[in-house]
Each structure stands twice: as C-alpha cells, then as structure tokens.
C-alpha cells in the first residue's frame, strides 16, 4: 500500500514536469519525481519493527570483534540507504545545473513561460 502512494507521487511529479508552462514549475515537478523514487527505494528496505542499522557497544560481543546475530535479524536493510545517499547527491547536482540554466534563460529571453521560448522550430 505505501508503494502505491509512492507511485502516485511519482505520477504527480511527472504531470507537473510535462503539463505546466512555467519553467520553475517544471523544475519543481522534476524534484518531486526524484523525491518519490528515493522514498520508494528507502521503503524497500524496511522491516516491520526493525531498528536503525547503526552499530553500538551492545551489539558487539565482549572480547571478540563479532557482531551479535540479533542485530542482523532485526535491523532494516542498510543497502538502499546507501543507494539513496548517492541518488540524492546526483539529483542535487542535476537540480543546481537546471536552475542555473533557468536563470540564464530568464536573463536572455526575459520570461519564464515556455510558450514564448521557442526559437528552435521544425
């Protein structure tokens, strides 16, 4: 059920990116799409009643360096969290680039409306 809501958020972002006519609203639509995908990826790793995957003194057996089996059985999956960190960094770079290009388009064309930014035709 939460996965279907994630997909709904993705569709809302796609609608914004495709239908809207203001440059800034298109950029916001792209950002919403990326949030939806990151949320979906984190929710995949969830385990009901799980704990955060952070090692502590209580999870290491005294004397040796081994990790208690209880930790592996009850923690949520940390791999999607690492993937989402990378994806957030990538979307940050992409967002910075697209916003700076929007600012320059405003400086050149004088408007944020994509129906008036149409020099390339055919």
């Amino acid at each position: 059920m939460p996965y279907a809501l994630c997909f709904l958020l993705f569709m809302i972002g796609l609608y914004c990116a495709v239908v809207k006519k203001n440059l800034v609203k298109i950029v916001i639509g792209l950002a919403i799409m990326e949030y939806a995908v990151n949320l979906f990826l984190i929710m995949l790793g969830y385990r009901t009643g799980g704990t955060a995957p952070i090692l502590d003194k209580t999870y290491i057996e005294a004397g040796t360096n081994k990790i208690v089996a209880n930790f592996i059985n009850t923690s949520v999956d940390p791999l999607p969290q690492a993937l989402v960190l990378t994806a957030i960094v990538i979307s940050l770079g992409s967002l910075a680039l697209i916003i700076s290009i929007s600012i320059r388009i405003y400086g050149k064309y004088g408007t944020f409306d994509i129906t008036e930014i149409r020099r390339l035709k055919g």
Partner: protein
C-alpha cells in the same frame, strides 16, 4: 512577464542578525567537522557534513551580503579547494593500488592501522575519504550558492 523590482541582496540584514550569525556560524562549522570526522560511526559522513560546512558560509552570505563573503573566501580559492578535495580522494584510491594491489583497497585497515572497533581510528581509509568528500562538497555548494545569488535587475545580468 516578470516585472517589478528585484532586491539588491548585497546590503545584508539588521544588527541583531549580523551579531548572532557571526557567533553561530562557528558552531555550525564545528558541528559540520564533527559529522565528517565521525562518519564511520554515526550517521552522516562526507556528503552530509559537507552540506553543513557550506551552510555556515551561506548563513554568512544571507546576513552580511554577497561581497563580504567574497572577500572572506574568494572564488579562485574555493575552486582550488574543490579540486584539492577531489584530488585527495583520487590519491587515497590510487594509494590502494600502490600499497595494496587493488584499486581502492582499504590498506590502512588490512595492513597498517586496524585500530579498535567503535573508536575514531578504526575503519582504515574511510575517515580520510570522508574528509576529502566533505571538503569537496562544502566548497562546491558554496560556489554554487555564490554563483546563483548574482542578481538580475530586469533583463540585464552581470555574468562574467
């Protein structure tokens, strides 16, 4: 059409904001260094710590105006710090080949300095990589915010 005045944004805010932010920004910077250094023990690491480091400078930019911060940390210096961070990361990875035989091998953990688990000196090259990433991300985000804050009055933009 976008009409109306766009504010200059370079004069800064009131005295209260300026005084408080000049104290608080040191604490934010210190907090960022903490997140970067303990990245292998607590949540965070290179990227999150770098964002916090950059945000201390963004606070300064909001409170005092753009030109003050440009004199404080000039653009060419920030560019060079950026390249230095990336270069440090590549150096750590290449040392894995030289000292260990495989690209990005954790040579400190496996050979020279294993340390004890859950202490600061424990996970090999991971703290070094975190410091390099923190430096790079901090410098990059500072540069991005600086360049995006160039104001456009109407249709005339001062880009270099």
């Amino acid at each position: 059409m976008q009409t109306g005045k766009i504010s200059n944004g370079t004069k800064g805010m009131t005295v209260i904001v300026k005084t408080v932010s000049s104290w608080v920004r040191v604490l934010i910077f210190l907090f960022g260094i903490n997140i970067v250094l303990f990245g292998h023990l607590t949540p965070g690491g290179g990227f999150a710590g770098g964002v916090i480091l950059a945000s201390s400078y963004v606070l300064l930019m909001l409170a005092f105006g753009r030109e003050f911060v440009e004199e404080n940390l000039p653009l060419p210096l920030a560019s060079k710090l950026d390249c230095l961070g990336a270069f440090m990361f590549a150096l750590v990875a290449i040392l894995g080949i030289v000292l260990g035989g495989s690209f990005f091998l954790n040579f400190l953990y496996q050979k020279y300095l294993p340390g004890q688990p859950l202490h600061l000196v424990s996970a090999g090259i991971i703290p070094l990589a975190n410091i390099a990433i923190g430096l790079k991300v901090g410098a990059s985000l500072f540069l991005i915010t600086l360049m995006l804050s160039i104001s456009c009055k109407g249709r005339e933009c001062r880009f270099e």
